[in-house]
């Protein structure tokens, strides 16, 4: 009996016993790892599934590349994933278009500040069309500035009364006389964004809606470290929301601060969601990505006008093709008093303010 016990002890002290222990340990580790691998996605995906009916789609999205660099097949898959997810999430058939910009077009915009009445209908139309977060946070791509009328520091009547006058050698601008001793322009001092008037327009003020200037030389595009934001061949600056890393460099680079960052999870009620979307335009965005005015890419790429322009009750907004001399924008540039920002930083905005 004692001999047997001693033998057993001896056996357990032998290298075989050690090997057994190591094997057991490895077995335990493998079992635990396998269990964790099986369980972890379920745990991690549990909350995602509460918001997102198909968590796998989200995982696939993490691994997709820049939309512009995808093959046609990859684009199709990506669009199908988004349509499936949005349709389930918002409980309505949602389409995500990837229609390309038309050829032979350079989009430009003009806004008549003498006509704008500050009603903010353009703001609300933009929010509705572009699926912006409704509250907490509220995201708006257009801000309407209210400014005292005294800020216009030039007289249209005096504009051509300066010296030297126009000659066959050209118009050298106002130098003496006319508006020479005043700032020939419009001061934005005392501008206020959060006005809450009972009735508009206030007769002592004028209104200036501000939005992305769609620069021809956009500094935001240069600043983006991953090329998530880019300029399409129709001159519109767009963002691949899935490629954006949320570093906000573009926001810092924009001299007009026209970009909006999704600080929180966007709050878009299903009943208010616009189901006709574009990949680079109004499809629902996620937290942590940048967004901005796209000239309603989902509309303009199909030959329609931007929502803000359609909503304007006084026709203060003009949109068109800068390559076409007969377009509204070109006509405005040819015939109206057009302003430019004093400090443009060489960005060449394609959004013009004018007085009709």
């Amino acid at each position: 009996m004692l001999k047997e016990k001693n033998n057993a002890l001896k056996e357990s002290d032998e290298p075989d016993g050690l090997e057994q222990g190591r094997r057991d340990f490895l077995k335990h580790a493998l079992t635990s790892s396998a269990a964790a691998l099986v369980a972890a996605p379920a745990v991690v995906g549990a909350s995602a599934e509460a918001d997102n009916p198909d968590a796998d789609i989200t995982v696939a999205e993490y691994f997709q590349g820049h939309f512009l660099l995808m093959s046609d097949e990859e684009k199709k898959k990506s669009i199908a994933r988004l349509e499936k997810r949005y349709s389930a999430q918002y409980k309505k058939k949602t389409t995500v278009s990837d229609v390309e910009a038309p050829d032979g077009v350079l989009f430009g915009y003009a806004l008549d500040i003498s006509k704008c009445i500050g009603c903010r209908r353009c703001v609300y139309a933009c929010v509705k069309e572009n699926n912006q977060s409704r509250h907490d946070p509220t995201v708006q791509w257009i801000q309407v500035m209210k400014m005292p009328k005294g800020n216009i520091a030039f007289s249209a009547e005096n504009l051509d009364k300066g010296y030297p006058r126009k000659s066959e050698f050209g118009d050298y601008g106002v130098q003496v006389g006319g508006n020479a001793y005043k700032t020939a322009g419009l001061s934005t001092e005392d501008a206020q964004n959060y006005y809450n008037d009972d009735a508009v327009p206030d007769k002592d003020f004028f209104y200036m809606p501000v939005q992305c200037q769609q620069c021809e030389k956009p500094p935001c595009v240069k600043a983006c470290p991953v090329r998530a934001t880019f300029r399409d061949h129709a001159g519109v600056v767009l963002i691949d929301y899935n490629w954006c890393i949320g570093c906000r460099m573009c926001q810092l680079a924009c001299p007009y601060h026209a970009r909006r960052f999704n600080w929180g999870e966007p709050n878009l009620p299903a009943e208010e969601m616009n189901p006709k979307t574009h990949y680079f335009g109004n499809r629902p965005r996620m937290r942590g990505v940048m967004e901005k005015c796209t000239f309603c890419v989902q509309r303009t790429r199909e030959g329609r006008d931007p929502a803000c322009m359609e909503a304007c009750p006084v026709g203060a907004r003009k949109f068109g093709n800068l390559l076409d001399p007969e377009s509204d924008v070109r006509k405005v540039l040819a015939t109206k008093r057009v302003f430019r920002f004093k400090e443009e930083y060489g960005t060449y905005p394609k959004f013009f303010y004018y007085i009709g």
Binding site: S32, A39, L106, Q143, M145, G170, G185, E189, V338, F341
Partner: protein, 85 residues
């Protein structure tokens, strides 16, 4: 003796697996607590809007002369042609 051992090792495995899952869940909760929180989002958004207002106030609109307008159109069209080319 062997039976007891195998039962013990089974319970050990179960305990280890449960421990791993609990750890994963705990880590996920910790991470998502900070990610899912919308705290201060409205204030941050308002700060972005205020920055835009400040940028507009600091700037000024000046009237373009006819030459300037023509120059602008020419520049825009040239840049566009270069981009397309």
């Amino acid at each position: 003796m062997k039976e007891e051992n195998s039962r013990r090792s089974f319970f050990k495995r179960v305990a280890a697996a449960v421990g791993m899952v609990a750890a994963a869940a705990g880590t996920k909760t910790l991470i998502s607590r900070s990610i899912d929180s919308n705290d201060g989002a409205s204030e941050k958004y308002a700060a972005d809007v205020a920055a835009q207002e400040k940028a507009v106030k600091a700037n000024q609109l000046v009237v373009m002369t006819d030459e300037e307008k023509q120059q602008r159109i020419d520049d825009l069209l040239n840049f566009h042609r270069q981009e397309i080319a």
